[in-house]
Symmetry: C2
Subunit: 202 residues, 2 copies
DNA sequence: TGAGTTCTGTAGCGATCACTACGTTAATAC
DNA sequence: GTATTAACGTAGTGATCGCTACAGAACTCA
């Protein structure tokens, strides 16, 4: 394989520019971030942005997908890597407390907060992130149902309600982080939240 | 007192127009709602809007204040009217489950979701709603500290952590409602969330 | 070298943003 | 009646929105 191409080579680091765009969308959301803001932060001109990423919408989609495999990967990892489902959810919440308050990037979760209030024209962006959140919720529910099938969760446990509950806790922790909550406060929230975990089966 | 004034009388119902504006801001947020959207929904022309409410920012402020005394009043009411603090928080969450999914208006809470992602130019709006949320959190904490002082909560209870926890749960329920959660699902979340309430003092 | 290709910066496109100048209309005050 | 006051609709302000036409620059290929 070869990386050489015809024509004038790109004069900026596409990956670095993508990270800059991620941080901007993370902080101000999709509509709160203008193309002018993006080009200024990425250090490129509008034609370069459009040539490299398509348009604002495509750039945002790429940002969200990259976010899911990097900053946001801890959620799936925690649930998948812990054998004990309770430990998996507990670890997910603990890591959320740390990740959402990391001073190295904007607070909270991009998927949760980057498109919560959109104009009628960009309702599709709001819907895209909503679909990601509901997919996460289904992932929670599947993990809980799997735990129940394996006998790690009582038969009476309401997996749907627990899934919505953990989804709400994660989203709430994200917004608390954006509102200024500290890592320590969110850690305590994470521990309190685990009180809802049902008693083990007899 | 007299309600008569000089000059041409207003030809629209100011209160009704304010409600229309509330519903729009509630659904699409501050920046997601344009003055053009507002005038169309309120059935008035831009000069009438500016004469009656000042500007978009002032209208939003009035909407938020009115929201706090109507749709959003159930929170303070629940905490203030229940003698038992645990019952107060439980009632607040139960009523949130119903209010956030009321089909008569947009889902969730306006204070929580109307300005979560703002452009740098309107950061002050985001900050105003943030101040309201942190005030609510302090109200939670004060209620919990009062309960502990009265002996209704154990001395070891972490009132700050509990306040942040309940704030996160409420915010999470609001976003779950916007993401399509049903009243019943949120009711179950409310009940699960109360599991974190500490054991009564010995 | 020259042709072909692709990125670059400048400069500006039409559309929409929040907002308002202006002349008209409809009420009260005298 | 006339004067005064205030809301009305029309029509349009400058600024910013997302996006692009265009020409020059920098590369690979023959």
């Amino acid at each position: 394989m070869t990386t050489s191409k015809r024509g004038r080579p790109r004069s900026f680091d596409r990956e670095a520019a993508l990270v800059r765009a991620t941080l901007l969308f993370w902080q101000h959301g999709y509509e709160g971030t203008s193309v002018s803001d993006l080009t200024a932060a990425m250090g490129i001109s509008p034609p370069s942005l459009y040539a490299a990423f398509g348009d604002k919408r495509a750039l945002f989609t790429e940002v969200v997908e990259r976010y899911g495999t990097t900053f946001g990967a801890f959620m799936d990892d925690a649930l998948a890597q812990e054998r004990d489902p309770r430990a998996g959810f507990a670890r997910m919440l603990e890591e959320a407390a740390v990740a959402y308050t990391d001073p190295g990037h904007p607070a909270g979760c991009l998927v949760i907060s980057a498109a919560t209030n959109c104009s009628p024209q960009t309702a599709d962006v709001e819907q895209d992130l909503r679909a990601r959140r509901t997919a996460n919720l289904r992932s929670f529910e599947a993990r809980l149902e799997d735990a129940r099938a394996r006998g790690a969760l009582s038969e009476e446990a309401d997996t749907r309600a627990l899934a919505v509950y953990f989804g709400a806790v994660v989203q709430g922790m994200s917004q608390q982080a954006r509102d200024g909550a500290s890592t320590q406060e969110l850690r305590r929230v994470a521990r309190l939240a685990m009180s809802a975990w049902p008693e083990p089966p007899a």
